[in-house]
C-alpha cells in the first residue's frame, strides 16, 4: 500500500506549500484584527485565539494533504505519484489559491452579485490547469521544485507552533 504514495521528501515539499499558504492567510487575518483585539482582549486571550487558529490550520493543512495523497493513491502512478512534488504543489496552490481569491473577492464586492465572486477563482483554476499541462517542461518544473523546496524551511517554525499550540488548545478544552 505504501508504494502507492510518493516519497517523503515530495510529501514534505507539498505539505510546506499547503501549510505556508493556509497559515499565511490566517496570520494576515490575525494581524488585521489584532489592533481591535488589543483594545478588548488581554494578551493571554489573544494567545488563546491564535492557538485555536493554529490548531485549525493544522487540521486544515492535514486534510488538504490527505486529499492529495488519496488522489495520488487512486490514480495511476505516472499521473501524480511520480511527479508529486511538482503536480502536488500545483494542485495545492490551485486549490488553496482559489479559496484565497474567492474570499478576497467576497471582502471586496460582498455577496450582492454571487456570480462575480467566482470569476477570479475560475480564472485561477484555468491558470493552474495550464501549468499542470506544461508542468513537464524543465523550466516550469525547476521553478516549482525550487519554490516548494525553499518553503520547507517554514515548516521548522510552523510545525512546532502547530504542535505546541494545538496541545495547548486540547489542554484547555479537556482541563
Amino acid at each position: 500500500m505504501l508504494k502507492r504514495f510518493p516519497n517523503p521528501q515530495a510529501i514534505l515539499q507539498v505539505y510546506a506549500v499547503i501549510a505556508v499558504m493556509i497559515s499565511g492567510w490566517t496570520i494576515t487575518a490575525f494581524l488585521w484584527k489584532l489592533s481591535t483585539w488589543l483594545l478588548t482582549l488581554n494578551l493571554g486571550e489573544i494567545l488563546v485565539v491564535f492557538s485555536y487558529a493554529m490548531f485549525a490550520n493544522l487540521v486544515e493543512s492535514m486534510i488538504v494533504l490527505a486529499v492529495l495523497l488519496l488522489i495520488c493513491a487512486v490514480l495511476p502512478a505516472h499521473i501524480l505519484r511520480d511527479v508529486f512534488a511538482v503536480r502536488g504543489t500545483l494542485l495545492a496552490v490551485g486549490w488553496i489559491g482559489m479559496l484565497i481569491i474567492l474570499l478576497s473577492a467576497n471582502r471586496q464586492i460582498g455577496m450582492a452579485n454571487p456570480s462575480a465572486l467566482f470569476i477570479g477563482p475560475l480564472a485561477f483554476m484555468v491558470l493552474t490547469a495550464f501549468l499542470l499541462v506544461i508542468s513537464k517542461s524543465n523550466p516550469v518544473q525547476s521553478a516549482i521544485l525550487w519554490t516548494s523546496d525553499r518553503l520547507v524551511i517554514f515548516l521548522f517554525v510552523l510545525m512546532p507552533l502547530y504542535i505546541a499550540l494545538s496541545g495547548y488548545v486540547i489542554f484547555r478544552i479537556v482541563v
Binding site: I22, W25, T26, A29, F30, W32, K33, L39, T40, L41, N42, E45, V48, V49, Y52, A53, A56, N57, E60, I63, I96, L99, I100, L102, L103, N106, R107, Q108, G110, M111, P114, L117, R172, I173, V174, V175
Partner: protein
C-alpha cells in the same frame, strides 16, 4: 495482548459515553436536591431590545402588551426605568454587576467586563445557597454569562431551543472554553457575513460559511412565520417552543428552592418576525412626531420606512407578550410561583426615529434607554407604581435585599423604591455608549447621558467630523425629545453639564489611576 476488535472498541466507547452522561446528570441532580431554606425563588426575564416606549403597559397607543398589563396588576411597576447602555453588552453587564459602564468596561461590541471584576456579579453574590441557572439566546450576553461561569450551577447553550443553526461552530460546541471559543470561532475563524468586509481567519471554514450563506434561503420562511422564523445571527427558533420549554424547565427547577433563574430571550430584538396571528394586527395610522435625521445617525432611513419597521416591531412585541402571558398562566396554574419573585425587564430599547433604526448607534434618545421593569412579589395582589427615575444598576442590590444578602459597598446602583429604596428625583443616571472607544482607555469617543429629574442631557464627544456638542430635553414636558433646551434653559443646562462632565472626568481619572 489480544487485539481489540471493532466491537470491543464500540462497547468501551459506549460505556465511556454513558459514564460521562451519567456523571453530568448526577452532578445536576445533586445540585437540585431540595434545600432547607425559606429564601424566595427569583425568576428574571429579560426581553432583548424591548423599549418601554412601545408598551401599552406604559401608555403606548397600540395595545402591544395586554398580558404584561395583567401581570402588572400584581407587581411593582417602574415607569422611568433606564438602561445605562444602548446595546446588549453594556446594558446586560451593568444589570448583572450593578456597575456603571465606565467601571465594568464592557463597552465595545462583544465586549467583556474587566477581568478583575468578574466576581462582582449577581450569581456570585447570591451564593451557592441558590441553585443558579442562566440561559440566553443572545451570544453577546452569553459571553458575559461565560465570564460568570464558575458562579453558575447550570448554564444552558444559546441554541438550546433552536430549530436550526446557520453556523458551523458555536461556543457551546466547546463547553470547556466557551468564551474564548466564541472569539476564536465567531470573531476570527468564521466568515461573519453581517460585516461589510469579512475577513475569516480560516480559509476552509470561511469558504464553507460563504457557500452556506450563498445557498441559504434568505428569509427562512415558514407557514407560521410569514416574515421568516425569529432569528439570532447563528440560529433560528420559534417563540412558542422556547416559552413552552422554559415553562417546563422552570416548573422542574422550582421543585428545588431557592432557585435563581436568569432567562434572557432574544425576542423582540430584530428581525421582527412575528408569528402569523400577529402580523398585520396594527393596521392603524399611529401618529408619530416627525423627527429629522440626526447628524450622527448611521443609517438615515426615511420616515415612511421607519414607520413600517415600527409597526413590525410592535407586532412582534404583541407576539412576545402573548407567549409570556401563556408562560405565566401555566406557571400559576401549576402553583409554582407562590414563593417566587418574577422580574420582567430588558437590556436596552429600540429606536425608530431621526433616521436611525434599531439600537447601538451614537444616539441615546429615550426609546433606546427607557426599558420596562416589573417586579412581582410572592402573593402580591395589588399594583404599585413608581415614577422616579431608576436605573438597571439598581436591580442587583434590590435582588440581594430580596434574598436577604449583604449588599457590598462597591455596587453603584441603589435599592429600588418599594424594596427599601426611596423615590429620589434628584438622582442622576448615566447611560453611555462608547462602542468605538478602546475598552481599557479613557472614554473620549462616546455619547454620555445624564438623566436627572425631568431633564436628559446628551454629550456627544469624539465623533469624527462632528463637533463635540450637547442636547438637553425636558422629558416630562417633551417626552418625544423634540425641543433642544440646551441654549434655552441656561440654568438647567449649566447644572446638568457640570454634573455630567464631572462624572466623565471622574470616570476617566479613576480608570487611568487604576
Amino acid at each position: 495482548m489480544s487485539k481489540i476488535s471493532r466491537r470491543d472498541f464500540l462497547k468501551v466507547y459506549a460505556t465511556l459515553m454513558a459514564s460521562a452522561t451519567f456523571s453530568r446528570a448526577s452532578k445536576f441532580l445533586s445540585s437540585v436536591q431540595p434545600a432547607n431554606s425559606n429564601k424566595p425563588n427569583i425568576l428574571i426575564f429579560v426581553f432583548d431590545a424591548m423599549s418601554a416606549r412601545h408598551l401599552s403597559l406604559y401608555g403606548y397607543a397600540r395595545r402591544t402588551t395586554p398580558n404584561l398589563q395583567k401581570f402588572a396588576d400584581r407587581a411593582s411597576v417602574y415607569h422611568r426605568h433606564y438602561s445605562v447602555g444602548n446595546f446588549t453588552t453594556t446594558g446586560t453587564a451593568s444589570m448583572l454587576t450593578g456597575l456603571n459602564p465606565w467601571t465594568h468596561r464592557a463597552i465595545t461590541y462583544r465586549g467583556m467586563i474587566d477581568h478583575t471584576l468578574t466576581d462582582r456579579n449577581l450569581f456570585h453574590l447570591m451564593g451557592d445557597e441558590y441553585t443558579r441557572l442562566a440561559f440566553t439566546q443572545n451570544l453577546w450576553a452569553d459571553i458575559l454569562l461565560s465570564q460568570f461561569g464558575k458562579d453558575l450551577d447550570y448554564h444552558l447553550p444559546c441554541d438550546t431551543y433552536s430549530n436550526s443553526r446557520f453556523s458551523l461552530f458555536e461556543p457551546d460546541d466547546i463547553p470547556g472554553d466557551r468564551t474564548l471559543a466564541y472569539y476564536a470561532f465567531q470573531d476570527f475563524l468564521n466568515l461573519r457575513t453581517i460585516e461589510p468586509h469579512p475577513f475569516p481567519g480560516s480559509l476552509s471554514i470561511g469558504t464553507l460559511e460563504l457557500a452556506k450563506a450563498l445557498t441559504a434561503s434568505e428569509d427562512n420562511p415558514s407557514i407560521d412565520y410569514p416574515r421568516g422564523l425569529p432569528t439570532v445571527y447563528e440560529f433560528s427558533y420559534e417563540n412558542a417552543v422556547v416559552f413552552a420549554e422554559l415553562g417546563r424547565l422552570i416548573q422542574s427547577s422550582l421543585q428545588s428552592p431557592p432557585f435563581l433563574g436568569y432567562f434572557h430571550l432574544w425576542s423582540p430584538h430584530g428581525p421582527y418576525n412575528a408569528q402569523r396571528d400577529f402580523v398585520g394586527i396594527f393596521q392603524d395610522h399611529l401618529e408619530v412626531p416627525s423627527k429629522p435625521p440626526h447628524s450622527l445617525s448611521g443609517s438615515n432611513y426615511p420616515e415612511a420606512r421607519l414607520r413600517d419597521f415600527r409597526r413590525e416591531y410592535d407586532e412582534y412585541i404583541a407576539n412576545v407578550d402573548a407567549e409570556f402571558g401563556q408562560l405565566m398562566n401555566g406557571l400559576e396554574d401549576a402553583g409554582v410561583l407562590q414563593n417566587s419573585y418574577v422580574i420582567v425587564t430588558s437590556d436596552h430599547g429600540e429606536l425608530f426615529e431621526r433616521g436611525e433604526l434599531s439600537h447601538a448607534s451614537a444616539l441615546m434618545y429615550a426609546p433606546v434607554t427607557h426599558i420596562p421593569l416589573l417586579i412581582s412579589a410572592p402573593r402580591q395582589q395589588t399594583r404599585s407604581d413608581f415614577h422616579s427615575s431608576t436605573s438597571n444598576l439598581d436591580l442587583l442590590p434590590t435582588l440581594l435585599q430580596i434574598a436577604d444578602k449583604e449588599i457590598p459597598d462597591w455596587i453603584e446602583g441603589k435599592l429600588l423604591p418599594g424594596f427599601g429604596g426611596i423615590e429620589d428625583n434628584s438622582r442622576g443616571i448615566f447611560p453611555l455608549v462608547a462602542k468605538d472607544n478602546a475598552a481599557f482607555r479613557p472614554i473620549e469617543h462616546a455619547t454620555f447621558t445624564l438623566i436627572k429629574g425631568p431633564y436628559e442631557l446628551f454629550f456627544f464627544t469624539g465623533y469624527p467630523g462632528h463637533p463635540d456638542g450637547f442636547e438637553l430635553y425636558n422629558l416630562e414636558e417633551d417626552p418625544d425629545e423634540l425641543q433642544d433646551l440646551f441654549r434655552k434653559d441656561i440654568t438647567a443646562a449649566s447644572q446638568m453639564k457640570d454634573e455630567l462632565l464631572e462624572a466623565v472626568h471622574a470616570a476617566n481619572r479613576n480608570y487611568q489611576t487604576k
